[in-house]
Subunit: 214 residues, 2 copies
Amino acid sequence: MGHKPRKEMIAETRAKLVAAARHAFGSVGYAEASMDDFTASAGLTRGALYHHFGDKKGLLQAVIAEIDAEMLARLKIVSARADTLWQGFVDECTAYIEMALEPEIQRIVLRDGPAVLGDPSQWPSQNECIRSMSENLQKLRDEGTIVAVDPEAAARLVSGASLHAAQWIANSENPEATSKKAVKAFNMLLEGLLRQGRRIGRPQATAEADKSPA
Amino acid sequence: MGHKPRKEMIAETRAKLVAAARHAFGSVGYAEASMDDFTASAGLTRGALYHHFGDKKGLLQAVIAEIDAEMLARLKIVSARADTLWQGFVDECTAYIEMALEPEIQRIVLRDGPAVLGDPSQWPSQNECIRSMSENLQKLRDEGTIVAVDPEAAARLVSGASLHAAQWIANSENPEATSKKAVKAFNMLLEGLLRQGRRIGRPQATAEADKSPA
DNA sequence: TAATTGACATACGCGCCGTATGTCATTATC
DNA sequence: GATAATGACATACGGCGCGTATGTCAATTA
């Protein structure tokens, strides 16, 4: 009777290891997390870990992949329910900042991840979030909402600003006030992307995208 | 004869340790840098290190403080020789990106630093760079060049975008082309800060800062 | 039923970190 | 100017955590 199939047991083991590592990495950090400790907390040993993930870095990769998949799913939901593309883009940026406020994401994805695995722009997972944002910007450019600018470049700048804003907010002594200031300034920056005609409350004109103050 | 005074010998020892650690951290990374190894390369032992810096993290703090002081000095030079405040600000941002392209800064300050010491916005040193940029933005606001926005918030967003742009550029397969795209998009974003009347090639008007598309 | 695979556990060694202790020169005290 | 005291280091010690090598036992395959 009830013995589960092999594949399922294995997947379960992997999931347990990822979950235990995710908790350990998120609470005490990657460097301080003892493999013996958190494998034991999953009812396993380091043997299982090395068998499935190769080494500690491999486990971190798996954990980050899981978190990043969740982030991507959440972003897609946010942008999908907006009325306009631009609204969806702005909402997505806001959601990005809010996610970056979560301690687990900050610690694992934003701090330990880059230190252990190298620059995030090279991760296959992280690129999915960027790619999602790039696609939105591409559409916005096609429909004429934003100026002629490289979508990926804009996406990376915007995500960079978002992430740092989140770090700043999360560590400030008054997150509420800081958040308001950050969002306001953030919207100012985003207006730099909008074509003049689309800027709310501002006069209409044709923009010459290539001329800039620098 | 020539025996140097005590204080000088001590300062020399500290400097040698910082230099050796800086080299080790910058080349193999913080985690992989063996204290026994790089203290030996400075002709010393871990005893000296623990005496002067408390622990490995203390040394990293000292290394980062040194690097950050150099960065701040370079930024001040750049912004000081510009004709206008705005030009100085833009030049400073560009210099910021260029510095973030240097492998040593990327590794020590941008990746290992945050992982080991926590969020950079809490570092006394990093705050000096931000503060420098904030002061410039404050002046720009006072003279009416940019819209009414919190200077520190804008400074953090801009530096965040700059840093991520630099990471992206440094790790791209074609840094030249990537850099061009990033700088162009970056200038677009910065235009969001400029008041309408100041935007080059664009019509003049008064701006209502509090209204944004979001 | 015998052979093989593979998912784990156990055992071992090494490197690295932090601390506790020791040594020797310099500085202060008289 | 002799002695005590401080402080800048080196040495010695213990432990922990990682990676690897090896073992075991169930599940598949033939």
